[in-house]
């Protein structure tokens, strides 16, 4: 190998391939080749003065996956309704549609899924200075999703903490919304 092949990008790719190969060793997961997910997610805020336990964001999503060994790849659509603070401290309600691709990896005999997702974020409902229809991007990481088999074709999933950063309006001073959230859902195998 030349030194140029060992650039950070190539090194990351190499790590990725090694991980992929190392992962393809333990069958027996709660999976089928094709899976569909339906889920809800919510983001809570508890450190804001005077408003403990406030739900700041809520989302519903659908996913379709193709499973290969431990890995699965798929598409996701999500409607994310979130709130931001106005200058005068009132709440502003916004909504964004997320359309993206995700990749996930199963471990612990299929009881754990780790997932990354990225794609487009479309501003569906904005504030009075925003134009609905703006198109930006998002990225989400779910390090741990617990999966419990409820039935032969049904799995209950629970992601205790995931991180989502979306930029549904990338122009000017962008709308950037970060959400730490939990998610519950069902997977149909």
């Amino acid at each position: 190998m030349t030194s140029s092949i060992l650039s950070p990008r190539w090194a990351s790719a190499l790590i990725f391939v090694i991980g992929l190969l190392s992962g393809c060793v333990a069958p027996g997961y709660h999976t089928r080749e094709i899976m569909f997910h339906a889920e809800g997610a919510a983001s809570m805020v508890s450190e804001e003065a005077g408003e403990p336990g406030l739900m700041r964001a809520f989302a519903v999503a659908g996913r379709g996956h193709y499973q290969y060994e431990r890995w699965s790849f798929g598409m996701v659509t999500e409607l994310n309704m979130f709130r931001t603070r106005e200058i005068d401290q009132d709440w502003d309600a916004l909504a964004a549609g997320l359309i993206g691709a995700d990749a996930s990896y199963l471990s612990a005999n299929g009881y754990i899924r780790s997932m990354l997702s990225a794609g487009l974020a479309v501003l569906v409902e904005g504030t009075d200075i925003d134009e609905p229809g703006a198109v930006g991007f998002y990225i989400e990481s779910r390090p741990v999703v617990f999966r419990f088999q409820m039935d032969e074709d049904l799995i209950l999933s629970f992601a205790p903490l995931s991180g989502l950063v979306m930029v549904p309006e990338p122009a000017g001073i962008p709308i950037v919304d970060a959400q730490y959230r939990f998610a519950v859902g069902v997977e149909f195998l």
Binding site: A49, I87, I112, S114, A134, G172, I173, P174
Partner: protein, 568 residues
Amino acid sequence: MKRLLVALCAALFATPAQAYTLVTSVSESCHERLTFEAISLVLAEFEFDPSGTGLVVPTDRVTRRFMDNVRRTLPEDTADELVFIAMSMITGVRAPDTEGHSTLNLTALRRLHADPSPIGQYAHALRGPADDGLQGDLTAIEGTKQVIREEIALALAAARVVDGKIVDVIEPRPLFVDHYGTVDLKVSLVGYHLGRALHAMQDAHAHMVRSGENYEHIVHVTNYVDAVNGHLKESRDGLAHSDALDDCSREDVAPIAEAARARSVALANAFGSIRADGGEALERGLSACPDNATDPFQCGWLEYEPVCQAAIEAGDTEKQAEVCCTAANDFCEDTVPAAKIAHEDPAGPYLGCQTTPGAPSGANGWWVALIGLLGLLGRRRLGAAVPFVLLLVPGLANAQATTIETVEVKHPWSIALEGHGAAINDTPNASFLDVEFGYTLRAGYQIDRWRITAVVDRSWWVPMEFGVRVDRGTLNLGIGGEVHFFDGFIRSGITLGTASLLFDTAFDESGEFGYYSEMRPAGFRWLPIENLAIVFDPATITFSYPVVRNPPLRKLHRRASVGVEYLF
């Protein structure tokens, strides 16, 4: 009365730059620096008799603590009234830029600075979106004058005279304070609104291109709102707001900042004499200088270049092309030194994305940001590796995990050292970034799949409101429990304990004592050799609450941590 008013006014500007550093971590701020320099001159000329006012300084702990920070940079015998008004001035002079929000609160910034309403731009001496061409210069100047008049009127309304004494209205106004977030601070409305007026005056030097020996003539007004939205057309909208002209620490901007300071003093004096002269000095300042004017700073604060103005008002386009600064002559870049500076560091969209009026915005730009994000990750070895490591770790761990539970039975005791960090904050009313880092020592004893732990957690905090520094943060001590499952590959845990503040903040001193909690929903463990585990917790929620009284100091962090665990 005049002396009293002027002295009161003078106090409004007594805001030493170091005071901001003490209170809100401000280290470099042109507005505060200019204000401090201005008041130093005014204070040297007048004396202040606090007994002549009816001002009752609030005695609550938060106000007093904040005043103490300001007082450190004032003469020892400075009256409480002056310190209080100085503190109010700090809040006011910062307000137009933040309205009490963090400068890293993108939602608030978007509201404030991308506000298409012209009045929102005039508060910063900038063009409104419809202020096009040369006429737009004149409209923006008139709008800025109006903002100053309105703020002075509000200050006057707050400074009522009752039985020969000034009775100031005291109300809470928001101020963003590092670690605490937005705090409602009691302020003198006189000081607050004069601070806002002074902000516009100073911006009239940073955002308006001036010429002349004393920078007395405005030759061009810059544009922020069109520039940041990405559809600025210079010939129509003017020059983009210049970060270079905004930087008062630059050597070539210093003479302009000096002029801004001199006019700040003049505005302070004009307010001080407003009841005695009926506002004559203020109107003189806001009007063009007469031919026989002797002090260039007492008049014509916002005076457009007169020959060009006459050509605009006469509709003489030929003359305008000859004497005015337009896109055709690069806005006088070759003849006006400030215009040359104004061409540097133009404002633009944060992510390089443009809006198209009347069409869905960002449609052509999302991919630029996405590519930029990928490029950013690609340029940094760690950044590029993170998502892959995230996927890789479970794989490696699972391949090894089946032995962990067996080892834990053989070696029930454990001690772990973990490093942790957090960065992104999702609280809507705060800075987008809330950085912390530190380490955790965790000792445990295992019974079956359950483990009891004793935790020593050290967390440093990084305030980022104005520059970056590291604060000593907290020492957290706690007792917790863990449960291990999936053959010891996954652990979940909770810790409860105490948080001790280790540094002096704006409102509290080190030694404050409160609560700490930690929840780790799921972390990975990997056992490469028999009694050494590598632990990785991708998402841990910690709630550190070292100050429980008002205003509370509480931090909610979502950490990632990695460490080693020795089993024995």
